[in-house]
Assembly symmetry: C2
Homo-oligomer: 245 residues x 2
């Protein structure tokens, strides 16, 4: 199933509104941590899966990448990306990863920020990534943490009657697969996978785990967005860097 929630106009408008705020979870938590694991991009051939509005792809061009291809299933996203960023070495394509064809062993670095939890067939995804990567090539991706996705269909922060948070509710951890949530619009579909499934799929496809992050916010980030304090109680994101050996 190829979900294209970002072409739901209500969703997209609300999403744009959140992302336009300077202080959001992406800018203050996920992106700063993602960047700490970035490999050298100079002269590299790069593919960004779920490129959104293309800012990361354009950043890599600015850092001297040889070429960057950004793909996204959403025509809304690709239209924005093409409008925002123009460069001869930069290509944006509306394309589901499932339909992507890339010559084997040609990509030095594959990046993906918060997109893999929308993809149903993780095994196929990682297999295609392995095939596309050059020897020694790097995969860097972030996704929603399994602790969070396990119980996605329910409200997971449990509070007392005064609204104070008591704890985070985990359930159905080993029941992998489809989850729906109401984020911006009703019934956004995503996929829960366990930590072991995620890591073993990489390893079984010849990708060596180099680093795992479960980001925590800096003091400065918490001062800008106090709700980030909750991140110490359970992680929202998982960021993994792996290399083809």
């Amino acid at each position: 199933m190829k979900q294209n929630i970002y072409d739901n106009n209500t969703f997209f408008r609300k999403y744009e509104e959140i992302r336009s705020r300077e202080n959001n979870y992406n800018n203050l938590l996920e992106q700063p941590n993602f960047f700490t694991l970035l490999p050298p991009v100079k002269n590299k051939v790069i593919l960004d899966i779920g490129c959104g509005m293309g800012d990361f792809a354009a950043y890599c061009i600015g850092q001297g990448a040889k070429s960057v291809t950004g793909i996204d299933i959403s025509s809304n996203m690709i239209a924005h990306a093409k409008k925002r960023h123009v460069h001869e070495c930069l290509t944006f394509e509306q394309c589901a990863f499932e339909d992507l064809t890339v010559p084997n062993g040609t990509i030095d670095f594959i990046s993906s920020s918060l997109a893999f939890h929308y993809i149903a067939d993780f095994q196929l995804l990682i297999k295609k990534i392995r095939t596309a990567l050059s020897e020694g090539g790097i995969l860097l991706f972030s996704l929603e943490h399994p602790i969070v996705t396990a119980n996605k269909e329910n409200e997971n922060w449990v509070t007392d009657q005064e609204g104070n948070i008591l704890h985070f509710a985990v359930d159905n951890y080993h029941n992998e697969g489809l989850r729906t949530q109401n984020w911006l619009v009703d019934n956004v579909v995503m996929y829960h996978r366990t930590m072991s499934t995620i890591l073993n799929t990489l390893i079984e496809n010849g990708l060596q785990i180099e680093k795992i992050l479960e980001p925590i916010p800096t003091e400065e980030a918490v001062s800008k967005l106090p709700s980030l304090k909750k991140e110490f109680r359970r992680p929202s994101f998982l960021i993994i860097r792996a290399s083809k050996s």
Copy 2:
């Protein structure tokens, strides 16, 4: 801090009672999964950390291991191990891992079942393991899952008024370190570490992650011990195999 709870006689008596039951979490869940990741042991030099009553060490001898050393901080355990298993290639030693000295690069396989969460300095532990392992040597260990240890000081299964389980409570995930719990006796001390700390410590010490298990019980196991059904809701254990590269 070197905890030696197994030399608390009340604890040890209760522990023996649980382990003597055929249907416990170790026999039905942790051990069968642990064994699926066992490397070939024939002609290997093996160290078992937290060897308990020595059954695993003796099993390896039975499988043709060259030599097996079992260490445990508990004199109770070592006394039992020595009584239960005698073989010229089998050594049991009462010893905290912190005090262990092993010639560098001499151990082919280091195993440890449900002991590492009692050890305060994980960084030192893994560093010593890396030094002790031969090139290509294997580390296989199990420990309590970070989802479980995060909130260990509290009752983590949340139930409704009829006692039906609603979910599992996670909290304090990023607050690593000491936890106390009341398991068999009051105030058993253990250490919570995040998934990323555990995995990155291995990687940073030159150990390559080969496989991760978050065990789920078989149908047969659930029929023998119905409480194992809860394991589908959140994992109790984490089992990791890594190799020195």
